[in-house]
């Protein structure tokens, strides 16, 4: 076979994997965008993803319906993040510390629940998953078809959510108020915006999205639960939000870049290229560091990000 064919096989494999890997990252990052736009750095999405993963796994195992699994995960994400929002907004505890501890708690809860539910069960139990749905017609297009149109329903929904997120953020009253809460809470409050409510909303949205992203990992990618299923992907989503400059469209691109680097690294290992794969993996982070370092001028993060707000 000629080189061109090999290359196109490689390209299709790589980019398909890139999109597949970036799906849950994008979902979690879109949610986190809302939290950070409201002024709160929600590091707890890592733990929330894990809670979403275990919930979706167990509920799907018991009911056989991945949809119910997804729904239950989102509900748990909502509940867990109500607590987080309370800690961030009302107690005003250090957001980083609360997030880190919450992640440890979530790991404990997920592993405890798994062990309790699986007592007496031998061997891993695979659950029903969302199967890939090739889009009729489009999936047949050479190269582009298999890359873009052979994914699961969750990926299509996630991509659609990018547009929804952008619309909500920029075109709705809610989005305007949420952004005001993250830019200048005192000014927003003086204008009659309920800052506390907006920040709760931001965290809850990020929680639901993160839990759904965790469910995505189980119901689309693995079909099983293990404690290491999230393994830092919540933190990667944080990086993606920053790399994407808190804008849903750019976040989508950023998620793809991170996913592509990950996928390329896997492919390169197969192809035995001399480049250390870690260099490739760290590239998106290095770019984020460069962007945030101030060398290239000031970045426009939400001005009140991580600043607490208390009504007198």
């Amino acid at each position: 076979m000629d080189q061109g064919f090999t290359f196109s096989v490689f390209l299709v494999a790589w980019l398909t994997a890139a999109i597949r890997l970036s799906g849950p990252l994008l979902l979690a990052a879109l949610g986190e965008t809302f939290s950070e736009r409201s002024g709160l750095l929600n590091i707890g999405i890592e733990g929330t993803m894990l809670l979403g993963a275990i919930t979706s796994y167990l509920v799907t195992l018991w009911t056989g319906s991945p949809w119910l699994g997804l729904l239950a995960a989102m509900l748990i994400g909502l509940l867990a993040n109500t607590f987080l929002a309370w800690m961030y907004v009302q107690v005003q505890a250090n957001q980083v510390v609360v997030g880190i501890i919450f992640n440890i708690l979530a790991l404990g809860v997920a592993s405890y629940t798994y062990r309790l539910s699986m007592e007496g069960v031998t061997g891993p139990q695979k659950v029903a998953m969302f199967e890939p749905i090739p889009i009729p017609g489009l999936a047949a297009i050479p190269i582009v078809g298999p890359i873009l149109f052979t994914h699961s329903i969750l990926l299509y929904l996630t991509v659609a959510l990018v547009a929804v997120a952008a619309f909500v953020l920029y075109r709705t009253r809610f989005g305007l108020q949420l952004r005001a809460a993250g830019e200048n809470p005192r000014a927003g409050s003086a204008a009659g915006i309920d800052i506390v409510r907006m920040r709760y909303a931001g965290v809850l949205i990020s929680g639901i999205a993160a839990a759904a992203a965790g469910a995505y990992l189980v119901l689309v990618q693995v079909g099983l639960f293990r404690e290491t299923i999230v393994a830092g992907q919540g933190f990667i989503a944080l990086a993606i939000v920053i790399f994407g400059r808190w804008d849903p469209w750019k976040v989508a691109i950023a998620a793809f870049v991170f996913g592509a680097a990950d996928a390329l690294q896997l492919s390169l290992q197969l192809f035995q290229v001399g480049l250390p794969p870690q260099l490739l993996l760290s590239l998106p982070y290095l770019l984020t560091i460069l962007a945030m370092s101030g060398i290239l001028g000031k970045t426009h993060q939400p001005e009140a990000l991580m600043a607490s707000y208390r009504r007198e």
């Binding site: 075109r171 709705t172 000014a187 927003g188 204008a191 915006i193 426009h300």
Partner: protein, 516 residues
């Protein structure tokens, strides 16, 4: 106009409002009325409780007790949302604008009575243009706020209130950041709005503005209302007396003294403010030994940058600072201290001291190197002795070196800062707004100390917005306006009117520029 509404019932009333903060009663059973179509001035010194009262009326602060009445009815007013619904709007001293939002986004944010959940920026922009034409407040709806000059930002704030049909407009120190032209423009707008039936409250401590613009005045002191009068039936003297609660002609005894040689010289000094805008423009001043040179001017005309530039704390763009003939422009602040140049900043709580640290740790700020041994450890006994001496000499209360500076009253804190700077026996002192917000007792201590320092041969640059202070202490007066020195006059030959004109931007006819 005032006469027309004289018999009218108050549109908005506050009854027996009480608000406590840790350690102070900010509002002590305050009553306050505003009528329809009137411009009502709320007068008081810094810390009198006027801003707090207005923030309670606007729902930003909760109140410990008291009622708010609108058109005679007691209303539930517990949030800014409630206040906005009741037609109340407020413009804060520090503008409440989101810098990265456009004008129209700022104007419509927070409006919740509309049923629609999407925003139509275009429609809002059209209505905004209409409003701005109607009231002579020109703004471009799509401009980003952070790129607009201060005066325009204030217009955005006013439009924000009009857009949501506010019937009561509260303006907190609206002219503090404006040029005289902008102030005049603002007053035209306010009169126009009052004539349309809006009620307006301006919170201020500037007497001449009150005389010019207001129909009625309510005066507050120490959290209480001490008087409410019709402006036309009052005069500046009476208002001032009510405001400060002491004879305005507080006099400091000061013997004439022949100044010595020039010590601190500024040559064409220019600097930028924190935002990077030009704030100080080719300032030339000379302070002699044994002399107090007063720098008068309305707040925000480059005073802070002047002091900052001398100490190399502001970003200097040109010119030189000479100390005893030596160029010290680019020396570090620490080197300035070592040469014998002391600085008492205007912001006592956030620049001059550290509230979270005890008195003894604040007492060594800026000279902590002298309290460290050769191996770099702090010498606690020496620090303790020094703090005790400082507390004793300046009568700081409480007499406890381990007391947190943040819990000291303003007067005691200023005694701590001034005392600290004086006790290092400097050759020159730059002091900025030394008695702002202090009670009479503390003012006397500070004034007496400054005069004593002058008599001891120190060169003192006194930057103050209080003319009373300038006239009492300064041997010569320089007036600063928009970062320039408008002229320098001997205090003995100066009149308040003349200085006032210069503060409003008119150059002194005889000498503008460098002193003798």
């Amino acid at each position: 106009m005032a006469a027309q509404n004289e018999e009218g019932d108050p549109a908005y009333s506050l009854r027996q409002i009480v608000k406590r903060f840790p350690g102070v009663v900010a509002n002590d059973h305050v009553n306050f009325d505003v009528r329809k179509g009137e411009i009502h001035a709320l007068l008081g010194e810094n810390g009198a409780g006027k801003s707090t009262l207005m923030q309670i009326l606007y729902g930003q602060y909760g109140r410990d007790s008291g009622d708010i009445l609108v058109d005679g009815q007691v209303c539930a007013l517990d949030s800014t949302r409630d206040a906005i619904r009741l037609g109340i709007g407020m413009i804060h001293q520090e503008f409440m604008l989101v810098r990265r939002f456009s004008v129209v986004e700022n104007v419509i944010m927070g409006i919740g009575d509309d049923k629609r959940w999407t925003v139509d920026l275009k429609k809002a922009a059209d209505r905004l243009r209409e409003l701005s034409l109607q009231h002579g407040l020109h703004v471009e709806p799509d401009d980003i706020v952070e790129q607009l000059p201060i005066g325009v930002q204030q217009r955005v704030e006013i439009l924000k209130l009009l857009y949501r049909n506010a019937r009561l407009l509260i303006l907190d120190e609206p002219t503090a950041v404006l040029t005289p032209q902008e102030t005049a423009g603002l007053f035209v707008v306010l009169r126009h709005l009052a004539s349309m039936g809006h009620s307006i409250v301006i919170v201020t401590h500037k007497l001449h503005e009150i005389m010019e613009i207001s129909d009625r005045v309510t005066i507050m002191r120490d959290g209480r209302v001490v008087g409410a009068v019709k402006t036309a039936l009052s005069c500046k003297d009476e208002l001032a007396r009510l405001m400060v609660g002491r004879d305005v002609s507080l006099r400091a005894e000061k013997a004439p003294r022949q100044p010595g040689k020039p010590l601190l010289q500024l040559e064409g000094l220019s600097a930028l403010d924190a935002r990077g805008a030009r704030a100080l423009n080719a300032v030339a001043l000379t302070v002699h030994e044994g002399e107090i040179l007063g720098v008068a001017g309305v707040d925000g005309n480059g005073q802070s940058e002047l002091a900052g530039a001398i100490m190399n704390l502001a970003s200097i763009t040109g010119g030189r600072v000479l100390f005893d003939g030596e160029d010290v422009t680019r020396l570090s602040p620490a080197a300035h201290h070592e040469l014998g140049l002391a600085y008492v900043p205007a912001d006592r709580r956030h620049v001059g001291s550290l509230g979270e640290l005890p008195i003894h740790r604040n007492a060594i700020l800026g000279r902590h190197r002298q309290f460290a041994s050769a191996c770099g450890l702090m010498e606690e006994p020496k620090i303790g002795q020094f703090a005790d001496a400082l507390i004793e000499r300046f009568g700081i209360r409480p007499k406890r070196p381990d007391y947190l500076a943040g819990r000291l009253s303003g007067g005691n804190l200023q005694k701590l800062i001034l005392g600290r700077e004086v006790m290092r026996d400097p050759r020159a002192i730059v002091i900025e707004q030394p008695t702002r917000g202090l009670d009479v007792g503390a003012i006397e201590v500070v004034w007496r100390e400054l005069i004593a320092q002058r008599d001891a041969g120190k060169a003192i640059l006194l930057i103050s917005a209080e003319l009373e202070e300038i006239f009492n202490l300064a041997d010569r007066i320089a007036v600063i306006y928009e970062g320039r020195i408008m002229g320098i006059v001997k205090t003995s030959e100066a009149t308040i009117e003349q200085i006032g004109l210069m503060m409003a931007g008119e150059a002194h006819p005889a000498n503008s520029g460098a002193p003798q």
